[in-house]
Amino acid sequence: MTRITIDPITRIEGHLRIDCEVDGGKVTKAWSSGTMWRGIEIILKDRDPRDAWIFTQRICGVCTTVHAITSVRAVENALNLEVPLNAQYIRNMIVAAHGVHDHIVHFYQLAALDWVDIVAALKGDPEGAAKLGATLSDYKANSVPHIRAVRDKLQTFVDSGNLGVFASGYWGHPAMKLPPDVNLLAATHYLQALEVQRSANKIVAILGAKTPHIQNLAVGGVANAINPDSQSTLTLERLYAIKALIDELGDFVHNAMMNDVAAVGALYADWTKYGAGVTNYLSVPDLPLDTKGTQFELPGGYIPGGDLAKFQAITSYQDAFFRDGVKEAVKHSWYEYAGGKSALHPFEGETSPKYDDFHDDGKYSWIKAPTFLDKRAQVGPLANVLGMYAAGHEPTKRHLTKLVDVASKVAGTQIPLSALHSTIGRIAARAVRCAVLHEALQNQWQLLVDNIAKGDIRTFNRPVFPKGEVRGFGYHEAPRGVLSHWVVIKDGKIDNYQAVVPSTWNAGPRDDHDEPGPYEASLIDNPVADANLPLEVLRTVHSFDPCIACAVHMVDAERRPIVQVKAM
């Protein structure tokens, strides 16, 4: 038996350590250990709830926007405060543009390097790659000159000897299986993605006033003034600039990214057998279409045991099924609950650190272990896409069918929907979600324009805080899955605040019943060809798009190489 420790996992936000026991070329046991920011409640205690979002968006460097949005939703929920339609649409566009940005960056810049051999792409033939591209779509930038220019850029870059982000890649690893032309086409899109993702970020910047850290939110709405007669407000001119950016994004997402993901999935079809892990899937509805949060453009809910027929929808911002279903356990986390209590609901959440080294059978992570209905649940684009599919969401069905059809064509065999419960399935689902979000972004833009055209220019309802205690929760289907904030307000001041973040759900350690979390469960039976180069472990971990933000300093006191892989 060999023990592998990868510390830290790179190409993610924050610090994550993965330990695996490998026997007979397969993972038999796994541990996920992370440093997660767990102190936000201490910063927020006794503050004005209207300010909380300013602080929560500093929790993470990738997910700034999502923590801001979820925070205002939690406080609005506590006050039963309605949000004007324009404000919902503007927030929804920020949410959708941020999601599209995040998914493009994840596939190309963070995950693709586990599957695409960038150095081998230099052996690809631009004409062959262009021909291949043409069989998949009529994407205009799949032309021979475009691809040749990219190959030349790559050659210069590799010749410079300063590989930067590519230096830690597993080039030439036996598990890298794409033909050179496919590598070259994907590398071309890798470079194009760097340009295209800027369009998504610009949408967030125009609406949010600044990125990173949007400035336009308020409890009760947004601070974007709408006045068709003033140049300093959100004008039609600005809205049409956004429309142009949305269209640019769409060309890339629908014609390049969806096909790349389908092709990578088809050519690595063996990876549909690995990485299912926890198949209880939790997602929440998002993009509210009314002022109260009872209708949504994107559905969400709970699927137990991977059985889509048992899907139970979460239907409103007041949904008791979601509110009462969430708990967090600390048996294997470096915390203790007063009196040794078992898993606690976030409203009762406690944060008392109790650190004492890494114990395989004891405490080994700073991340708590969340449960839904006392069971582990996987969150993220796969959970979201399966939930929307189960709810009968037409755009999700259409984009998913399209991706599976392209993959089946490349593979030369029909790929079943059940293949989604896997490492490659998580990556495929993220591309589908990206396409769905892009379409939703177009819809939200139209809804906003139509609503302004009706003469409605309201963007804000003033919050009023009652004497005594009120409690609220807000949720958001963020790029990495379900994010929820929980707030207890006493006499207009924050008394308790907890954030249950997506990577807590997925990266959490074993729970009170010693049940492994989604990362840990998904690694079981993963093949490992070479314990010193555990590319296969990275593939499965990266498929979740880990974001274990901040507090990195706690384990980062000494200088050391960027990646340590220890095989014993």
Binding site: G61, V62, V165, R198, P212, C550, A557
Partner: protein
């Protein structure tokens, strides 16, 4: 000439956020020429691509792990910065190094990069800087002002 002064760090973790505090102090105390832009980048990485791309000069203010007393200033330029990518010098280097490598790949990396680092004292929870880091912050503002002056883009102190 297009210059970005980028403050990095997590303001929730006291001195960890010193880079952000440096650019806040710079913007509050000086009038900057039109070709100098100041950005609080928080702990972002790839999100900053659009702002960092195509700059003539990028000046990064950040907390750095280095020998010496808290508040000490570190200045690194161009080739020295490569070392940052090979060691985990600051918690944000991964995001920033990935970003810069990607920008080099598409030929949009800043032509010149200067890092002005402050050695932190306190990395615990809190919004305020330690006294040592506050001294470091003020010194870092001075160093950046000199840097900008050398580039022919010297800021003017704002009257109090």
């Amino acid at each position: 000439m297009s210059i970005l002064v980028l403050g990095l760090g997590n303001i929730l973790l006291s001195d960890e956020g010193v880079g952000v505090r440096v650019v806040e102090a710079l913007a509050a105390s000086h009038d900057l020429p039109d070709d100098v832009e100041v950005l609080d980048g928080g702990t972002s990485g790839m999100d900053l691509l659009d702002m960092v791309a195509d700059r003539d000069c990028l000046i990064v203010a950040d907390a750095v792990n280095a020998d010496g007393p808290a508040g000490r200033l570190i200045r690194l330029e161009n080739d020295d910065i490569r070392m940052l990518f090979e060691t985990r010098f600051s918690p944000h280097q991964l995001g920033l190094s990935d970003l810069l490598a990607n920008l080099r790949l598409i030929g949009r990396a800043p032509r010149r990069i200067v890092v002005v680092g402050v050695v932190p004292q306190e990395l615990g929870l809190g919004l305020d800087l330690s006294p040592a880091a506050a001294v470091g912050r003020d010194a870092a503002v001075g160093m950046i002002v000199d840097e900008l002056a050398r580039l022919g883009a010297g800021p003017r102190p704002r009257p109090h």
